[in-house]
């Protein structure tokens, strides 16, 4: 139960950060992709700096997480799917100005336009799963 509460609180920090930084506004993201405002670099850089420190230091501080048996490992792999998928992801991101986190967090700001994005994301993930279910094992979805 306590793990559930911590997960919601961690998500709330994440969501507050997405809203404070303006990432829940598609216009702000698009202004970055059009080289008019480089704020997104500060958002990603700030998030990455804290994450990098936590991911590198936490396992040295404690052998196990506070509420679980083991730390999970990232499964990024050097595979064609990673790059084809990322290229497509960028096209969709450039079309909408919204990525998965801000699409979810955007609902909390009362922005019901985000339902269009959420519907699209769910449909795209479904199609990818259908392809992966009938295709080669290499196309199976990964952690992320």
């Amino acid at each position: 139960m306590s793990a559930a509460i911590v997960t919601v609180v961690a998500g709330a920090l994440f969501g507050f950060g997405l809203a404070l930084s303006g990432m829940v506004r598609p216009e702000v993201v698009l202004s970055f992709l059009q080289f008019q405002d480089f704020g997104l670099m500060l958002v990603m850089g700030g998030g990455l700096a804290v994450t990098l420190a936590a991911y590198q230091l936490a396992p040295r501080w404690r052998r196990t997480p506070l509420l679980a048996a083991a730390y999970e490992a990232h499964t990024a792999r050097m595979h064609r799917d990673t790059f084809v998928g990322s290229a497509l992801f960028g096209v969709g991101w450039g079309l909408s100005g919204v990525c998965p986190g801000p699409a979810i967090a955007g609902l909390g700001t009362g922005n019901l336009d985000m339902l269009w994005v959420l519907g699209g994301l769910a449909a795209g993930a479904w199609l990818q799963g259908v392809f992966a279910s009938g295709g080669t094992p290499a196309a199976a979805p990964q952690e992320g």
Binding site: G15, D37, M44, G97, G120
Partner: protein
């Protein structure tokens, strides 16, 4: 030109808060806070397809929804404390939101991550494939947004 015409403090503060959430989740539960996976794992509640029935999705689908709930609550708290009186809205038309979401959803799940999964968690794990994934989607995102702008599709 100005690098940050809207100011820079809120960007950095927001990024640090995002990192704090990702760090808290990891230190407490060992979990990685990539946000695109919830769109795959949640299908396991209603679909019997093999890709959605993998143990990793069955085991993580509940906490991924808890994390998503947290995102909504955190953004709502910002709206209550610091946001405008009106709900946020966007001038980006519905067709771009839906089509962009669809393409991004397919692509992120094929790639195994998005701006948070590869951009923050993957690079935070010092994964070279994640760095290359970020450079790839930054490039195609830039090309797409610039092409739309050049065609006069605003914003």
């Amino acid at each position: 030109m100005q690098w940050f015409p809207l100011g820079w403090q809120h960007y950095l503060a927001g990024g640090l808060l995002i990192g704090a959430g990702v760090a808290l989740l990891y230190v407490a539960t060992g979990r990685l806070a990539g946000m695109s996976s919830v769109f795959t794992s949640s299908w396991s509640y209603v679909s019997s397809r093999a890709a959605f029935r993998q143990p990793r999705w069955l085991a993580s689908r509940a906490w991924r929804l808890q994390l998503a709930l947290g995102l909504v609550l955190g953004a709502a708290l910002w709206w209550l404390l610091l946001g405008p009186a009106e709900p946020l809205a966007t001038g980006v038309p519905a067709w771009r939101l839906a089509l962009g979401g669809f393409v991004a959803g397919f692509g992120a799940r094929l790639a195994g991550g998005c701006t948070s999964g590869h951009g923050i968690c993957g690079m935070g794990s010092l994964k070279l494939p994640s760095l290359l994934a970020v450079l790839t989607f930054m490039a195609t995102g830039f090309l797409t947004a610039m092409a739309l702008s050049a065609l006069g599709v605003a914003p």
